[in-house]
Symmetry: C2
Subunit: 318 residues, 2 copies
């Protein structure tokens, strides 16, 4: 008997699934996050290896014919030193097959559709749009990580919430709604006197200090405040949500050929959760087949199964 294994390794959790040629899930494993941009390569590789070992159970690792690992931060493996750490981990767990590491967007796309070509729009803590051709990432628009882009992501939404608050403070605007919510969440401040320029400047400086005191991606913690303010009808929040959806839709369309009728797969908390950004993106993509991915690990397992057993392998189900 032979197997295929898929892994979905994100910033906060790692999951593995073992499937057979019939697409039956025979075992699963899970662990903490394994994004090599957020964790040391040894830690990330070790967590992925542990999740694979758990999914294998007492089965022979040399019976695994293909393994696909979808990974946030996969670009880190372009560093030969990092790639060597991962290769050593595969050897340690007894694999004789090659392990294909791919962008997490690729496995998310494959989890939602069997169509070989299409578009995947990811917006969780980060964001990216992938142009999918033959189930491979053939190009990206947007993305680039928090330092360079990630427009429309929870990081971006949270940062815009803080920027909007700083602008309201600096320009003497009312602080009701989003600015008040941000100041309360970041500093425990409430009832700031909007007419006192000194108090506003002090709050502004304290907010900048608070935002810089944590890891940049932690700005994502303010994203839910934008959703709440949006749903309360606040213009500043509606404008942020509108821009987030605009960036994601623009990047999605830029990844498609003119008149392309392939599916668009939405992935990540900003697009599949309670955020109003998802709804707005769906409305703007009306007319296209828009799907949702909620379980990337099964996409990874299917990609591995197709590599091991051929195109006709049934898609695994949770």
């Amino acid at each position: 008997m032979s197997f295929a294994i898929g892994v979905d390794a994100g910033g906060t959790s790692t999951r593995a699934a073992l499937v057979d040629a019939a697409g039956t899930v025979l075992g699963t494993g899970r662990g903490e996050g394994a994004n090599p941009n957020a964790h040391a390569p040894e830690v990330a590789a070790g967590r992925i290896a542990d999740a694979i070992t758990a999914a294998l159970g007492d089965r022979d690792p040399t019976a695994v014919r293909a393994c696909v690992v979808g990974m946030a931060g996969v670009s880190k493996l372009s560093d030969p030193g990092v790639a060597a750490v991962f290769d050593a981990a595969w050897t340690r767990i007894g694999f004789t097959c090659a392990v294909r590491t791919v962008a997490d967007a690729e496995v998310a796309y494959a989890s939602a559709t069997a169509a070989p070509d299409g578009t995947v729009v990811v917006a969780g803590t980060g964001s990216i749009v992938g142009r999918i051709r033959g189930r491979r990432l053939a190009g990206t628009t947007g993305g680039y990580g928090w330092l360079l882009g990630d427009e429309g992501s929870a990081f971006w939404l949270g940062r815009e919430a803080v920027r909007s608050t700083l602008e309201a403070l600096g320009r003497g605007r009312p602080l009701d709604g989003l600015p008040s919510a941000v100041l309360a969440a970041a500093l425990g401040l409430s009832g700031l006197d909007v007419r006192d320029a000194g108090e506003r400047l002090a709050a502004s400086r304290a907010l900048i200090t608070a935002a810089n005191a944590e890891a940049p991606v932690r700005l994502a913690r303010f994203a839910p405040l934008v959703s709440i303010a949006h749903d309360a009808g606040e213009p500043a929040a509606r404008e942020i949500v509108d821009r987030a959806a605009g960036h994601l839709v623009e990047n999605a369309l830029a990844a498609r050929d003119p008149g392309e009728s392939t599916p668009v797969v939405l992935v990540g908390s900003v697009l599949t959760g309670a955020s109003p950004v998802g709804g707005l993106v769906r409305r703007r993509l009306a007319g296209l087949e828009v799907l949702t991915s909620s379980d990337g690990v099964l996409g990874a397992a299917w990609l591995a199964a197709v590599a091991a057993f051929g195109e006709a392998t049934p898609r695994p189900r949770a």
Copy 2:
């Protein structure tokens, strides 16, 4: 005899000047950067104290009647622990006067004009616009540091250069000009095959990794490439320069009352150096009195001298 001392403490250098009641510069000191956001508070405070001690020479520190320290990252002193480190440094050098720490923008403004009210537009590695009233910062627009804003700064220009390169790579656009210059500077790459999607994706990932491998503000190193590409007439670079100037001018005007006729003081390498952003900002502010600050330490020294000896104290000259 009594004195006043001014300090201008930036990210890369710290300068101090000792003046008397006639505005004569009696001594100067200098040291490395002392921005408490970029250096440990002990290091920043120590470098400022050393520059002051050098400017004092063998004069009695208790004869200093006022000291003004203009500082990038002054908001960090809203942390009582950080403020205590600086207070201890003033005590150690034997000061009996109070030391007033102010935003670097305040001393830059005072270095260019005696007008009590006006606007200061700073664009060096970072950017901020200050509304000046009674020579004090009465509000800001823009700014916020690299994580939250700094539109139009060298950091921002460099980041846009990298983003523009990633967009050209991702969307299969020609790489001539700015993208080629960025790829050469960041990765030593040249002659990338623009038609090979895999090669473009690999270059894109390597560029993201390279940008994230250094401190974020180091993105400022790509800013000069935007100037060169702008001057060569490249549309992408002209668009970046246009947006940079647009952000700075918009923030400048937002810091002014309708019809305000006070001076606008331009500060920092992006506005006073070879960058085309400065020229564009000047053209868009035509009709206003636009001045340039090149020596913030003399502004700090004058603010200290005014505090010590009164409003009529002559402005110190280099």
